[in-house]
Amino acid sequence: MFHNSSQKKFWQFDGEAALEKQRYEANQKFRSKIMASGKPVSDSLFLDPHEEMVIFRHYEKRLIDFCSIFKPTMPKSVVGTAVMYFRRFYLNNSLMEHHPRIIMLTCSYLSCKVDEFNVSSTQFVGNLQETPAGQEKVLEQILEYELLLIQQLNFHLVIHTPYRPMEGLLIDLKTRYPMLENPEVLRKTADDFLNRATVTDVGLLASPSQIALTAVLNSASRAGLSMESYLTECMGLKDDKETMSKLMDTMRRMKHLTKKYELPKPEEVVMCKQKLERVYAEFSSSNLSL
C-alpha cells in the first residue's frame, strides 16, 4: 500500500524548491565531471536548467505519444509508471549525460515488466517506426540502459499511480454520498485532470490519493456541484480542522501546478535539441551509438 511504500519514504518531496535544487545539483555534477576531465570547455556549451526542462518536457510528451499508439493498448497505470520513472531518473541525472530518447524507451520497457503488462521485447520494438535492423539496435541499447535505470531509481520500482485511488473514490462517493446524484459525470473530467497531472511534478509532491481527490473535487467544482460535506462527513474531518486545512492547501497547490503547465514552443525545442546534440558530440564517449 502507499502508506508503507518506498514511494512515500524516499520519493516524496516537500516542495518545488526541493525538486529544483535536486535538478540543479544534477546539472552541476555533470558540469564538474566534465571540467575535472581536463578538456577546455566554455560554460555556454552546457545546458542550463531551463533548457533541460524544455527538452525534458518535449521527450515526456513523446513518451506519452509512444505509449498511446502502443499495440496492444497500454493500460494507464503502465503509462503513469513509465512517466514517473522518467521523471525520477532525471531528478538525479543530467540530460546531458544520458540521452532522453533511449531513457524514455527504457522507462516504458521497464514499466511494462514491472506492471505485469506482458510484451515480448520484439513486440515492444516492433512499435517503433523503424526498419527491423534499426529496431534490433534500439533493443540492444534499451537492454544496455535498463540496469542503469534501475540503479538510478535506487531499485524502488513500485509506483502508486492515482488511477486506482480515483476509482476507489468514485465507488466511495456512490456508496456513502447520496447527495451527489451521479458521480459518473465527474469521471471524464477527473481523468483528464489526472492525465495532465501526470506530466507535472505533482507525483513527487503529493500522495496518489490526494491527487485523485484533487481531480474529483476539481471536476465537481467545474460542474458546479459542491462537495464540502463529503470531506467533513464521510472522511471524518469534521473536527480535525488542521488536517482539513493542510489537505486543502495541498490540493490547491496541485491544482495550481497542473494549470500552469504548458508545452514548450517548437522553436525553443529545436534550439535546445541542437545544443544537446553538440554537447553529446563533444563529451560523451558512451553515446557514440546514438
Binding site: F2, L169, K174, T175, S207, M235
Partner: protein
C-alpha cells in the same frame, strides 16, 4: 608379538605384521585377508570346527589366546541380562550365590557344556526379571555418562594448570631478563660508581626471588579434589523459581495516514459492492470475488490521504 600364524595361510602373519587376527563365536582365529576371501558371500563354515559362521561376527582379537576373547564376548552378553548389583540383594551371601550362577553360565557356554540347558536357564531368568533388568540398564548408562563428564572435566583442568605453569615460567624468565637489561642500561648511562649499581641490582634480584617464592606459596587450596569447595555447607533449600514476563499478544496496527477503510466482509453490507462490476462465473472459479477489487480500490483511495 604373536607366535602363532593364521591357521589357514600361515606365512602371511609373519610377512605382514600389521595384519590383524579376527576371532569369531566358535573361538577360532583367522587373519583379515582370509576372512575376506572365505566369507566373501557373507556366511560360511569355520576352518577348524566347521560351525556355520557369519562374517559380521568376526571381531579384532584383543588377547593372545583366542579362547579368552571368546569368553569375554560371552561374558558381555550374559552380563547384559544378569545385571543386578550388590544392593539389589538383601545379604552378601545371596549376592555371592548370584555371582556364582553367573560364572557357571559363562563357563558352560565357553566350553560348550550343556549349552541348551544353560540357554534355557538364561531365558527363564530374563522373562522373570524383565523390569529389574531394564531399570539396571538405565542406571548403568547414566553412571557411564557421569563418569565421562568427570573425566572430561579433569582433563580440562589439568590442561589449564599446565598452561598456567607455562605462562608463569615465561613471566619469570621475562622479568629476570628485564632486570639484567636494566642493569646494563644503568651501567651505561648512570653517574653512580659501578659497585653501587651492582649492589642495587643484587638487592633487586633478591627481592624478585622472594616475590616468586611468596607467590608459589600463596596458591592456597580452595577446593577438595572431588570439586566441593572447602568450607561450604550444603544448603537444603529448594531451588528458586525463575519467572519470566508472560507474552501478551498485541494485535498489529498499521497507520495508514488516511480515513479508516471498511473491512472486507463489511463491504457487501455497506453497499459498496453494488457499484463494482460483478464477478462472472469464470472469475469466481479461481477464487476471485468483486469484494477483493472493491476493497483494494477503497484502500488505495484512503491510504495517505491526510498529509
Amino acid at each position: 608379538m604373536d607366535d602363532q600364524g593364521c591357521p589357514r595361510c600361515k606365512t602371511t602373519k609373519y610377512r605382514n605384521p600389521s595384519l590383524k587376527l579376527m576371532v569369531n563365536v566358535c573361538g577360532h582365529t583367522l587373519c583379515e585377508s582370509c576372512v575376506e576371501m572365505l566369507f566373501v558371500r557373507g556366511s560360511g563354515n569355520c576352518v577348524q570346527c566347521d560351525t556355520p559362521l557369519r562374517k559380521c561376527n568376526f571381531r579384532v582379537q584383543l588377547f593372545e589366546d583366542p579362547a579368552i576373547d571368546k569368553e569375554v564376548e560371552i561374558r558381555k552378553k550374559v552380563l547384559k541380562i544378569y545385571n543386578k548389583r550388590e544392593f539389589d540383594f538383601p545379604s552378601l551371601r545371596e549376592y555371592n550365590d548370584y555371582l556364582e550362577t553367573v560364572e557357571e553360565i559363562v563357563f558352560n557356554l565357553t566350553n560348550n557344556l550343556e549349552v541348551e540347558r544353560t540357554r534355557q536357564i538364561m531365558e527363564q531368568y530374563q522373562r522373570e526379571n524383565r523390569d529389574v533388568i531394564q531399570r539396571n540398564k538405565v542406571k548403568l548408562t547414566r553412571e557411564q555418562e557421569e563418569l565421562e563428564e568427570l573425566l572430561l572435566l579433569e582433563q580440562k583442568s589439568t590442561e589449564e594448570r599446565r598452561l598456567e605453569l607455562l605462562e608463569e615460567e615465561k613471566r619469570q624468565l621475562h622479568a629476570k631478563r628485564k632486570n639484567k637489561q636494566a642493569l646494563l642500561d644503568e651501567l651505561e648511562s648512570s653517574q653512580l660508581p659501578a659497585c653501587v649499581l651492582l649492589a642495587q641490582h643484587k638487592d633487586r634480584a633478591v627481592q624478585l626471588e622472594q616475590q616468586i617464592e611468596k607467590q608459589k606459596q600463596a596458591v592456597k587450596t580452595t577446593i577438595f579434589s572431588t570439586g566441593i569447595p572447602m568450607g561450604q555447607t550444603v544448603s537444603l533449600q529448594p531451588v528458586p523459581e525463575i519467572r519470566e514476563v508472560l507474552y501478551h499478544h498485541q494485535p498489529l496496527y498499521i497507520y495508514t495516514h488516511g480515513p479508516p477503510v471498511p473491512e472486507l466482509d463489511q463491504l457487501q453490507r455497506l453497499g459498496y459492492l453494488n457499484h463494482v462490476r460483478a464477478a462472472s462465473q469464470q472469475d469466481m472459479a479461481g477464487g476471485y470475488n468483486s469484494g477483493l477489487a472493491c476493497h483494494r480500490a477503497v484502500q488505495d483511495a484512503f491510504s495517505g490521504l491526510f498529509p
